[in-house]
Amino acid sequence: MHSGILAEFPSEDALVRAWEELAREGYARVTSFTPYVVRRIAGPPATTAVLWIMLAAALLGGAGGYGLEWWCNAWSYPLDVGGRPFHAAVAFIPIAFESAVLASSVVGFFAMLIACGLPRLSHPVFEIDGFERATVDRFWIGVDDADPRFEEGVADALLRMGALRCERLGGPR
């Protein structure tokens, strides 16, 4: 989120209460900034696009590793070692497996960073004084002003729900 209202809460419980209330009121574009993952609002782990990318990378990596072994030892330079088969499927398994793991982890790591919008060293939320406690012991809720239900009055509502303070992120549209 880049502009909207940010509200600071003192505890996880206060955050969850406000979160549920906002959901009841029909807010859709709400996010949170927390020191650790708050399971009650993050919900159960879901299958994300990154996971499908990782799966594809694993399959491609495994097939690529196996193909490379086959190409090197059975096609480009077949070397007869005591009559053993050039295309030694069983002997090619370990490297195929390792290549699958390598490809999916490397791709997965960068895909995760991209999905998280990282690296991004400068972000509007960092301009707010005291926001650095979001990684320590404060729980912030952000209501995006692109939300169809959004109105500036949501700040007062958030304060009634127990927010310590509210901050306007970006200018009013």
């Binding site: 030694a88 999916s104 995760m112 060293l121 400068s122």
Partner: protein, 480 residues
């Protein structure tokens, strides 16, 4: 009950009895407590880092000497061509297994006591794998051609031979190193962000800010992070098992008596985790004392690590018992000679009995609960295990090579001062890297620990409510 209420004692584990977290006040207190070592001045640090840097310099000098002169400086001969280099390689890579075991496998099993020590163990893994990688490369004889191990298109038109187990190792070890780095760094992101937000000086704020890549703890980020981190653990789990399996294939695929056995993969993996856990204890116990971490690394952790040592120790012991049995049962005269005569009564019998004492006998002390929860006692046992595991690899490699099929080619092996110096040098270099890690990185996972603390607080609150409410709801009616 408010989240910030000071808690005297947290988390009675259902199984263990000892708590996994003590005296954790508020989130802010816990954070500052865990970050404090980063900002503090350590009086002992210059001496420690100086000593290990000196040791590392000696290592590089001797490695340089070896590269200039050749590996004739080592005690290796034919038939004992593997000797120290491969012993050290297998030992170090084995140590490097505990890190991912603790962070990945114990994460999947949702073991609570993993949380405080996983960062530690992961860093240990990385640095151990770095040491391990040094040996096969030097052992090539002409290490500047190490890149021939990679299939790259060259004018020679030849490729690595993938039907041999040795290229499997190359891929397994480099994959393991890469995945361990990524897994470690992903887990560090939220903690680097805390370090950024708590840094006392502008320079540190910028340094940690760069490393944290701009982590904000936003909901979408947590959702992505959590899923990918768990899947990383899922794929790192078979990876850990596969790496030492591949190392064991170097032996098992060969025809030599004492090596050619299907028991090798599980035997090697158990041995690797055994020595790895011993190394975690060897590093953790001094750090726990120096940084007074007994509230986050509690007796519960020590107790459980001790139990893990005992379990893996017994797996290793079981293999030691099974190997001679298989040799006897298999009726192969060469196999019988190595297992039943050469190892226990041959030239290196002292090493064999040292292995039996360290790995099978000494570890039995850990049946005593008081010893498992005593840092000094555990530290001593871990050191003994470490010596035992190194000696085991030495015994395994040297006794099989030194007496192979043809008595005319039999020859004993004696390490030279260069061998010993390189081994000592890698220990120094390992400690050097580990000290640097302790100095600059948050070495106890902060956000995970806060999450765990929160879970414990909530579980307690729920339990307290249930206890009060059940009789009121009339379910337990009738009981006084």
């Amino acid at each position: 009950m408010s989240a910030a209420a000071p808690l005297e004692l947290l988390a009675e584990e259902e199984t263990g009895g000892e708590p996994v977290l003590l005296r954790a006040g508020s989130d802010a207190e816990l954070t500052d407590r865990l970050l404090a070592p980063l900002w503090a001045r350590w009086a002992w640090f210059p001496y420690a880092i100086g000593a290990t840097a000196l040791g590392s310099a000696v290592l590089f000098a001797v490695v340089g000497y070896t590269m200039v002169t050749g590996i004739g400086l080592w005690g290796n001969n034919i038939p004992v061509a593997w000797a120290f280099a491969i012993t050290n390689f297998v030992w170090w890579i084995g140590i490097g297994h505990a890190g991912t075991f603790i962070s990945a496998i114990l994460l999947l099993f949702e073991v609570h006591w993993r949380t405080s020590i996983n960062r530690f163990a992961e860093a240990m893994t990385l640095f151990a794998v770095v040491q391990a990688g040094l040996f096969p490369i030097l052992h090539l004889g002409r290490p500047w051609f190490a890149y021939w191990l990679i299939p790259y298109p060259s004018e020679m038109g030849v490729w690595p031979q993938f039907r041999s187990a040795l290229p499997w190792d190359v891929v397994a070890v480099t994959t393991y190193l890469t995945v361990s780095v990524l897994f470690w760094y992903s887990g560090l992101l939220p903690d680097l962000a805390v370090a950024r937000d708590r840094a006392p000086t502008r320079l540190r704020r910028q340094a940690y800010g760069l490393l944290a890549l701009g982590w904000r703890g936003e909901l979408g980020q947590w959702r992505q992070f959590r899923v990918v981190y768990a899947v990383f653990a899922g794929i790192a789990t078979p990876l850990v098992l596969s790496v030492h399996t591949n190392v064991s294939f170097d032996f098992a695929i060969a025809q030599l008596p004492g090596w050619h056995s299907t028991i090798f993969p599980p035997y090697f993996v158990a041995g690797a985790i055994y020595s790895g856990f011993a190394m975690v204890l060897q590093l953790m116990i001094p750090a726990r004392r120096i940084f007074r971490l007994d509230d986050v690394i509690t007796k519960n952790h020590l107790d459980n690590m001790g139990k893990m040592l005992l379990v893996t120790g017994w797996v290793v012991t079981y293999t030691y018992m099974l190997e001679p049995f298989l040799a006897w049962y298999g009726h192969d005269p060469f196999e019988r000679f190595v297992m039943l005569r050469n190892r226990p009564f041959g030239h290196y019998a002292a090493v064999y009995w040292l292995v039996v004492f360290c790995n099978c006998v000494a570890v039995q002390a850990l049946w005593v609960r008081r010893l498992r929860t005593s840092p000094a006692g555990l530290f001593v046992v871990a050191c003994i295990v470490q010596v035992g595991m190194w000696s085991e690899r030495f015994m395994l490699i040297v006794t099989s090579l030194q007496r192979d099929f043809l008595p005319s080619s039999w020859r004993n092996y004696t390490p030279t001062w260069v061998d010993w110096t390189i081994l000592g040098g890698t220990i120094s270099f390992f400690l050097f890297l580990f000290l640097l890690f302790l100095r600059v990185m948050p070495f106890i996972p902060i956000s995970e620990l806060k999450e765990m603390r929160r879970e414990i607080v909530r579980r307690r609150a729920v339990e307290a409510e249930t206890v009060v409410r059940l009789p009121l709801a009339g379910r337990g009616g009738g009981r006084a």
